[in-house]
Point group: C2
Chain length 539, copies 2
């Protein structure tokens, strides 16, 4: 799979410059390209304890996305999945550390431990006060003495960051960070491996399987399990997380590992809340992409037992969009449906001339059924005649419940009937036509203007203009001339309908996909229906 990068060598420097440029001046970077790629707060005054993290790239927004007020002071960015050099880490430490010292937050990988560790030694030789904490939240391999550091690291960034922002000293920060680390548990699951820039993709996970307990650098999962949907997947993770899980409220951090969709992540969260440990999850951070593994189609769940102080620190506002905030989990509030979804049927009333007029119109459309279908075969799917005839038959059947004596209500009632019986776009458009005409009539417009108001609304919603080879081509001129009498209107409708046979490029509807040759010489069936209706009425 190709990627939106330029070259493997420049990924990190270009991405860092993108992040810094779009930070609104909040961030800067050290002038150490290509090897030293350190993002720092541009507003830092060294009076507070500096928080420095980092590691290999490929986990964005971690860590550069978390540099800013209330979180990190600097992020040291290695190559993709490779620890930054000792010099790069040292540069980061020296750039931001003042008399209050510096806390290094390191994920538990040998390279990171060693490089951050040696950089810390070199910084100490300058008299700087440097502490280092190592995050090891991955529970995939419970017997592994050196558990990996994964997405739970975000809890450390946020809690230590909020403490540093209010002036906590280094030993307080380090103690708080260690407390968080000791309570963290994380596990990941993925349906596919990630694509490392410049390397062929490893096809390790067979279709129908998922990896449970995988690392964030493409390391294989502890086991491959059959994949049977989101519920089973979350359940398998929960069964790992629930081992020795304290019987108290926890904060869940739900992390997108790369290319699970936002839709899927919401389903995952739904399943987590409804899982067997759902009642022990009081808050959630995410779902969001926080500690990714490039484009891995997976996610991780981290749990941390909440205490009031740490919930408050997690909730402290930060301007960093990469931090999704923390939310209280609550039962879903379901509001009653509003009244009005079942339309109030108008009071039926009798008016014999109107009944006959409507039935007459309906019969015109019923008689035209096969002709209109034949025309539609030339430009559409051949069903315009049947659609209109079906609606006409349904309207005849509905005559007993129409308010025939109340003409302002009648438009809306016809619109309502059509919206319920006539399928497709044309049904909705005619329903809109009659509903808007009814609005016009009820606000006192005479018939022609009310119908024109209906046409305007139908055009606004449907988008058809004159010349677009639709029923508008005959209906619009007919209404325009209606004040001169039905004969003029019928003539105008006929001229408009016949003109559609010369329109060889349709702009809207299905006919817009056809060629000039296919369309030429055939009237648009909708326009023809309107013309026949007016011609009948004029007789």
């Amino acid at each position: 799979m190709a990627q939106f990068i330029n070259s493997k060598e420049n990924i990190v420097t270009e991405a860092v410059d993108g992040v810094v440029a779009a930070s609104g001046g909040r961030l800067a970077r050290l002038d150490g390209y290509p090897h030293i790629r350190v993002v720092v707060r541009n507003d830092w005054d060294k009076s507070k304890v500096a928080l420095v993290s980092g590691g290999g790239s490929g986990h964005e927004p971690a860590h550069a996305g978390f540099v800013g007020p209330g979180m990190l002071t600097a992020a040291v960015c290695g190559d993709v999945f490779a620890s930054p050099s000792v010099d790069a880490v040292l540069a980061g430490i020296l750039a931001v550390t003042g008399p209050s010292g510096c806390l290094l937050i390191v994920k538990n990988y040998t390279g990171d431990r060693l490089n951050f560790g040696l950089a810390a030694e070199r910084a100490r030789a300058f008299g700087l006060n440097v502490e280092m904490v190592v995050v090891d939240d991955d529970i995939a391999l419970p017997d592994l003495p050196q558990a990996r550091g994964v997405a739970g690291t975000l809890f450390v960034h946020k809690i230590a960051g909020a403490l540093a922002e209010v002036g906590a000293d280094l030993s307080t920060l380090a103690a708080a960070a260690r407390k968080v680390i000791s309570g963290l548990k994380s596990i990941g699951m993925s349906l596919d491996t990630c694509t490392v820039p410049g390397s062929p993709k490893e096809d390790r996970i067979p279709i129908g399987m998922a990896e449970l307990g995988l690392g964030i650098h493409g390391e294989a999962g502890v086991e491959q399990v059959a994949f049977n949907g989101a519920r089973d997947a979350v359940s398998a993770m929960v069964s790992k997380l629930s081992v020795n899980l304290e019987n108290k409220a926890h904060i869940a951090l739900v992390n997108n590992l790369g290319s699970a969709t936002v839709l899927e992540m919401s389903v995952v969260l739904y399943e987590l809340i409804n899982s067997e440990i759902g009642d022990r999850i009081s808050h959630v951070v995410g779902p969001a992409s926080m500690m990714t593994s490039l484009d891995m189609k997976g996610f991780s769940i981290s749990l941390y037992p909440a205490d009031t102080q740490h919930i408050e620190l997690l909730a402290t506002p930060t301007p960093l969009n990469a931090w999704p905030g923390i939310s209280l989990i609550q039962p879903v509030t379901s509001l009653a449906l509003p009244d009005g979804l079942t339309p109030i049927a108008p009071l039926a009333s009798e008016h014999e001339p109107t009944r006959q007029f409507l039935i007459d119109c309906c019969r015109v459309l019923i008689e035209a059924e096969s002709d209109l279908n034949a025309l539609d075969t030339k430009s559409g799917d051949g069903d315009t005649g049947s659609t209109l005839a079906g609606a006409a038959r349904a309207l005849i059947d509905a005559m007993e419940r129409l308010p025939l004596a109340d003409h302002t209500q009648l438009y809306r009632a016809i619109g309502l009937e059509l919206s319920q019986t006539m399928g497709g776009s044309s049904g909705v458009l005619l329903a809109i036509f009659f509903a808007a005409a009814g609005d016009g009539a009820s606000s006192g417009l005479p018939m022609r203007k009310a119908l024109k108001a209906g046409l305007d609304r139908m055009q606004e919603i449907g988008g058809a203009q004159i010349g677009d080879r639709t029923m508008v081509d005959s209906l619009a001129p007919a209404l325009e001339t209606l004040d001169n009498g039905l004969s003029d209107a019928a003539a105008a409708a006929r001229a408009g309908a016949d003109h559609t046979a010369t329109i060889i490029k349709a702009r809207v509807g299905r006919a817009s996909y056809l060629s000039a040759q296919q369309l030429e010489g055939h009237n648009d069936p909708g326009a023809e229906a309107v013309a026949r209706l007016f011609e009948h009425l004029a007789r």
Copy 2:
């Protein structure tokens, strides 16, 4: 590709419940499952103009993720890529619309126009004041009269939402929305099609190609173009966007269509800023997933000519994490590298006994090279002897620049030499050992305690404990007994080294990947080196 869902039928209801549950009580939904899926603000008092949007699902976080203070009042969620029903839209309108009325924000697709349009008519029949605006920002097909609505819709949500929040009336809102829409331009690019739940994936885009000007429902792009990296991709999009682009500042909204990585999106932003229209981009929204197309590996760029009022409205805070905020684009600030990266060389000094002692130690390691390599072949990659001998040779060569007469400085100097000449983890660990021992010595510790401080730090960083089959197994007991004289220390080191041959499960380092059978009977080479050193010194 499998997906983290349970069934196609339940995706939207489960995802909506996930979103509502994690909203901290901010959101509710209507009780209309399974067909009516409407997310509404739970704190809405109907005194302000309601903003209702929606459409097919599959574009998350649009639209439910944008329901909240300063943005939408309700989102109506259809099935994946399918317009919601008229009843669902009407339910949404009726649930939130009060005397100030309602603005419908609709993307320009026939289904959405018709269903939102008819719902608006039905709402008007209840006397509600409803206006509808249609977003058509896609410039992929410049001659298409009905341009699609894509990610530019977010500008409308945010600007109209901020206006509604401060009490603007419906006509003001509709006018502002139409002004925004008239200035919007968007275009998308993708390297692959999206995976529609329940449908086989369409393999439409060949390897090495990208689609330019594609829709957000899997519609094919206007053209397939050769893909030559991020710079070319952005340049192709910019050449479309720059047609008739006003010569003034614009806001760029950079939208992840699904599964481009966060890393790639930063590179894309970098290229956009550095493109030929870069100087006309004053602000950016994103990069972020705002209007996705399920898991499409692509992105879109939307441009809107900034005016001060609209920039302020875009910058108005909202608690919605799905809205990434707006940032001023600024040149990258590059700070000078801190002093101290080039370590200050200690002042060389002569002290013949120390020189002889060090050279002596180095020779022990050089002589042991092949023995230690042979041992390492059993448990590692066979190079421990060469690594140590190489470092020893380099240290002999460095003798002229060492502070031989200043023992407190000497530790640090040796650490520095080792960090520069000795590769691999062991080089870093020994550098940490000597650096920390130097710290101890310079703070006044006697030799044994200084070395012990070095060991402690090395263990802290490296993670090795006694019994882990490392050099710690001989070094720790040697230092423990050093006060009793070198003979005791040598005996303790030997006993520790020999004991490693019985440790059949290594916890750290490369040996941890080997079986008991492979390890049994062979001393750890690092432990053996330490033992040989002490044995030599004791003679």
